[in-house]
Structures are given as C-alpha cells and as structure tokens.
Symmetry: C2
C-alpha cells in the first residue's frame, strides 16, 4: 500500500504532520512525500519548510492520498491546473482520498467532491460549498472513498480512524499509544460552538 503526503508552498504543517506521524507507522506500507517539483515547501508561518521525497512527475498512482490545508497557499494550489490534474490522475484508482482543513478545497477544485458530503476548517465552511461539496460540520466526514477532516489538528483523529480501517483496531491503538495521544487541551474552546464570539473574532485576526 502506497501512502502519499502532498506538500505545497504555504501549507499548514500540522495538517500533514498529524497524519504523517500516524499513517507512516502502518506496517506493510510505503509512505512517500510529493511536492510539485520535488523541492521543499515552506510552511504558512515562514518558520520552517517540509522536504519531499518525490516530484509530482515521479508518481502517477497511490492507495492513499493526504492533502493538507493552509491559508493563501491553498487558494494558489486550488487554482493550479498542474496540481489539480495530478491529483485527479494519482487518485483515479486510490482506495482513500483524504484531506485535512482547507485541503478539502483543493479536492473540491479537482472535482472530487461533486455531490459529496465533506468538511473543512470551521472558517472555510461556506467556501467549501462553492467547490461542489455538501458542507457538513463534523470532526471528519467519509463519503465513499473520500475522507475530509476539520481544521488542522483534526487530521490526527482522522488518521487514527483510517489506520484502524486499513490495519485493524489494535494496530491503530498501538500507534495512538506510540504518539501518546491522550489529549489534555488546556481550554475547552477548540470549536466555534464552544469558543464563543470574542474568541472566534480573535482567532480570525491571529490566522
């Protein structure tokens, strides 16, 4: 089973690293990372970048694709016909097509969400419908072979669930224990429904 992590300029690194640190640990899988030209992709923060093992031209099929979100870089990727063509090609026979955060906008731009239920970062829910999907508020949404996760950290939950589907509950549990994923968030404000209007407004100014 070949798992592909897609990297592009301006991605949110936690979107892809959450699934990377879960799915790369699956037994009997070949995990690789792909950027447009095989070079590194700078994070939306500008603080560090991610290097790829492959260029898009090296890879024409996969079993699992993971597409991360980001801010401005995501809209550029979702408007890049070379990227969209490659996503359509590489997923033509994929078992699972997945996204985290606004990565679903890229899947939508590639035409992969037409008529499907899907989710994204809470601040992008209205945009998602514009990309042909039926937008659903949920930690992650499965519709056929497409799995879309909510914002940033939701990729960890999505990936552990997918690991269980691929390799069984016990392997997924071993990976969850391995990354000591026993979350203890200091505040109960990780969704708009819990955070309230003042924190929502502040979040929109921080990102």
């Amino acid at each position: 089973m070949r798992i592909v992590f897609f990297l592009y300029e301006g991605l949110t690194t936690l979107d892809i690293i959450g699934p990377h640190d879960v799915l790369s640990r699956l037994p009997d899988c070949e995990a690789i990372s792909v950027s447009k030209d095989g070079g590194p992709a700078m994070a939306d923060t500008g603080v560090l970048g991610l290097t790829a093992t492959h260029a898009m031209g090296d890879v024409d099929a996969c079993d699992v694709l993971v597409v991360p979100g980001g801010v401005a870089g995501t809209f550029a990727a979702a408007a890049d016909e070379e990227i969209l063509d490659w996503i359509r090609t590489v997923t033509a026979d994929a078992t699972w097509i997945t996204s985290v955060c606004t990565g679903s906008l890229i899947l939508g731009a590639a035409g992969l969400l037409d008529g499907r239920k899907a989710t994204t970062h809470w601040a992008a829910m209205e945009m998602l419908a514009g990309y042909g999907a039926e937008a659903v508020t949920a930690r992650s949404v499965r519709d056929g072979n497409v799995i879309t996760a909510a914002g940033v950290s939701a990729g960890i939950d999505m990936a552990i669930e997918l690991a269980a589907t691929i390799a069984g509950d016990e392997t997924a549990q071993a990976i969850q224990l391995g990354i000591e994923y026993d979350p203890a968030p200091p505040f109960d404000c990780g969704s708009p429904a819990k955070a309230g209007a003042a924190i929502i407004e502040r979040a929109q100014s921080v990102f």
Copy 2:
C-alpha cells in the same frame, strides 16, 4: 521575543510541529528554526524532512527553545557535544526551555535537568532518570524555567499552556480554536495506564 525550534536528523516531526503551529502564531514574536548546519533534518520515518531558517552558528540566544524527541536520532543528538554546547549557550538567558517527548533526554544530556522534575515519552521514563532528572509521569512538567512534555502529541497541550503564560488566556484560546484543537481520539488508549499490556507491547514493536 525570539522562539527557536531546534531540528536534528531523525527527529519525530509531530514533536516539533505541534508547538510550531501554536507558538509561531503568537503576536509580537520572532519564530525561527535552527539545525546544526542550517540544512534540512530528515524525520525518523524517512518520509519527509524539515528545513531550517538558521544554522546553530547563527543563533546564540533565545527567549524560548523547543527541543523535539525522536528515536535513534535523539541518542545521537544527546551525544553530540556541539549540539549540547549550543543548547547550553542559547538557553543561558532563556525565559523558557522546553522539550517534547525524548527531547528531554537531550536537555538532560546538556545538564539542564540536574535535580529538576521532568517528563518524557512513557517508554523512556527510566532513561530520563539516567540524565539527572527526577522523572514524573504527567502530560507536562514545569520546574523553574524548564517545561518538559510527554510523548509526541503532548507538545500541542504544552504549547497552548505556554502560549497562555506568554500572551494570556484569550490569545491561547484563539490559537487553540484556530488549529481547531477539539480532540476526538477514536480510542481511549493514549497512555500506558489506559492501553493495557497487549497494546503496549504492540506499540513497542511498531516504533
């Protein structure tokens, strides 16, 4: 306030990316990434690497240092006198010295945990005492200006708490909402106490 994310060959990427995606969003902070020679550091998975903005030689002071863990690469870093010298220098006047997972073993090797309470990945707790610390089982431990977090994903919780200390609860809450950190782990097995012996054994074979 200058925040430094330290990168080295063989690190566990989620250890550093969790804090990166929290602390890089703090207002009025300069966040940078540092590797030994300024080049990229490959993940312990071999699937992708992280690029740095600076080499160790470029940076001789910081306000916050974050040191990630890893597997074999961590022991190599903890035995690298150039790295240990740099960590001692760069933290001499630091406000906060932090680690995630087995990153605490590197802090310990640098002599920064002598007589301090500290934590690490559950599988490395016995080793931590060998590096001079008083090993404590907790999601994160603060002792003076040193904060050590438990395994891998614990860096997210640690970083949000630190963000609250640095910039106040409302900013930290806005960042938590921004990364939609409303965790919904599919299993309740993220610590050894919850996982049981069979999953512990399997986790040790997966990593």
